[in-house]
């Protein structure tokens, strides 16, 4: 129920804070999504969308930090984690 799917903002629609929306692409499927909770999102940003509302901008830097942390974790435990696992598709 609390599922949220990351999608890419491709067009902003409207300026009114309550009605502000965006066309968001989910791997090619485009839906009109409310941006009322994420006014800072712009074209090209990834947002997490839950029941028709963007609830967060995905923080790319933090996403990269996670993979750095996991890489470190592998090293600490003597587990090899190649850069190839640090994917970004």
């Amino acid at each position: 129920m609390c599922l949220a799917v990351p999608g890419k903002v491709i067009q902003i629609v409207g300026d009114d804070p309550v009605l502000r929306s965006a066309r968001v692409s989910f791997a090619g499927v485009v839906k009109l999504i409310s941006l009322a909770c994420v006014p800072e999102a712009g074209v090209g940003d990834y947002v997490l969308v839950h029941v028709g509302m963007a609830i967060s901008k995905v923080d790319q830097q933090e996403a990269e930090e996670t993979f750095k942390y996991l890489k470190q974790l592998g090293e600490l435990d003597g587990i090899e984690l190649s850069d190839g696992d640090n994917t970004s598709s």
Partner: protein, 366 residues
């Protein structure tokens, strides 16, 4: 899909599982709160990758499952007796009330419509100005901004025939209630990532301190979940009980301020009954009194008949982490997704439905 595929990397998942095994010296019981996490754990078999000492139990994180039967009865009454257009998320339609479910109400002539978003229900109201339209607003903190926004939009656009039937629950009070129960077995939590996206993480520090339970904010993909388990086990092994954020790409400590403002403008905190668990003080939202016109309970002066228990169903014990779905005598026999006795067998995110779907062919293991 970006931000999904890389978190399903099988090699990375196995390495994380090995890292968890490497730090585990004792037995620990960890609860994931969110039904989406439960679904992912069972679907991807993540619990089976963990060392024997680590037990994952499944919390009350399915809003559909904890919506009381009497509120479903109210939705049925709205659809059949009051002749409204009743809009709902799809997984609410087959949850049994104390009488029938909403899909049966539809079969009996009720105008019950499945929508993707509460904002779509406002559109239905605009398209049907001569009818009353009610959205069945269930959910945790994650869904509250969208449900609140539907009221704000209706207000802004002068949509006078729209209201919501609310069954909104909050995670932190439920965690407290679980930890305070005398038969509690949970030692650490994976907190629900998207709930924290909205509300932030500050509410959890007092709980971690007071009950000595580590709380790790966790995402929903296999790598996210195992990272959450790793950090939780590490704290347990080191005797720490802190709040950590393992889902920083989506969760800031302060949460989403814009979303919180929208929620506060429409809802206020109130006592709530949880199906299978009972009344938990200050554990939900209801529509603010000044917006009573948008509150279906008040608009239609709905009565609330206290429902009796769910018979054979042991969903309460499952959602408190005391039992697993296979401990239920009705699991897979008298209770199946086609003929559910209780809500966790209906919703995709209910623990029973996940076990039935992905584990039903296995023999029971102690």
């Amino acid at each position: 899909m970006k931000y999904v595929d890389e978190y399903r990397d099988a090699a990375l998942v196995h390495r994380l599982a090995a890292a968890i095994a490497g730090i585990t010296t004792k037995s620990w019981t960890i609860m994931e709160i969110c039904g989406g996490q439960t679904h992912a754990i069972v679907k991807f078999g993540l619990d089976e990758l963990l060392p024997k000492g680590i037990t994952l139990v499944h919390g009350p994180g399915c809003p559909v499952c904890v919506t009381p039967a009497e509120i479903i009865d109210q939705a049925v009454e709205l659809a059949l007796a009051r002749k409204v257009i009743l809009c709902s998320f799809g997984d609410m339609l087959r949850v049994p009330g104390s009488g029938i479910d909403l899909l049966t109400a539809k079969a009996r002539g009720g105008d019950v419509r499945m929508v993707y978003s509460p904002l779509d229900a406002v559109t239905v109201a605009k398209e049907n100005p001569t009818r009353e339209v009610v959205f069945f607003a269930v959910g945790f903190e994650t869904t509250a901004p969208a449900n609140a926004m539907s009221v704000q939009r209706a207000q802004r656009e002068g949509v006078a025939n729209y209201s919501i039937l609310t069954s909104h629950v909050l995670v932190p009070p439920a965690m407290r209630a679980l930890l305070a129960a005398p038969d509690n077995q949970v030692q650490g939590f994976l907190a629900a990532g998207h709930v924290c996206t909205i509300m932030g993480t500050v509410e959890y520090a007092p709980i971690a301190r007071e009950f000595g339970a580590p709380i790790v904010v966790t995402g929903f993909e296999p790598v996210d979940i195992l990272e959450g388990v790793f950090r939780c086990v590490k704290q347990l092994e080191e005797g720490r009980a802190e709040v950590e954020n393992a889902y920083a790409r989506a969760v800031r400590p302060e949460g989403n301020i814009h979303a919180q403002r929208i929620v506060e403008a429409v809802f206020e905190v109130a006592d709530r009954k949880w199906r299978g668990i009972g009344m938990i003080p200050q554990s939900g939202f209801e529509v603010r009194p000044e917006l009573a016109a948008f509150d279906a309970t008040k608009r239609f002066q709905l009565s609330c008949m206290e429902s009796v228990g769910d018979g054979l169903c042991i969903s309460g014990e499952i959602m408190r982490g005391v039992k697993k779905p296979r401990d239920c005598p009705a699991f897979g026999t008298a209770c199946t997704p086609d003929h559910p006795k209780g809500a966790p067998m209906v919703s995709n995110e209910g623990a029973c439905a996940a076990y039935f779907r992905y584990r039903s062919r296995e023999t029971s293991v102690a």
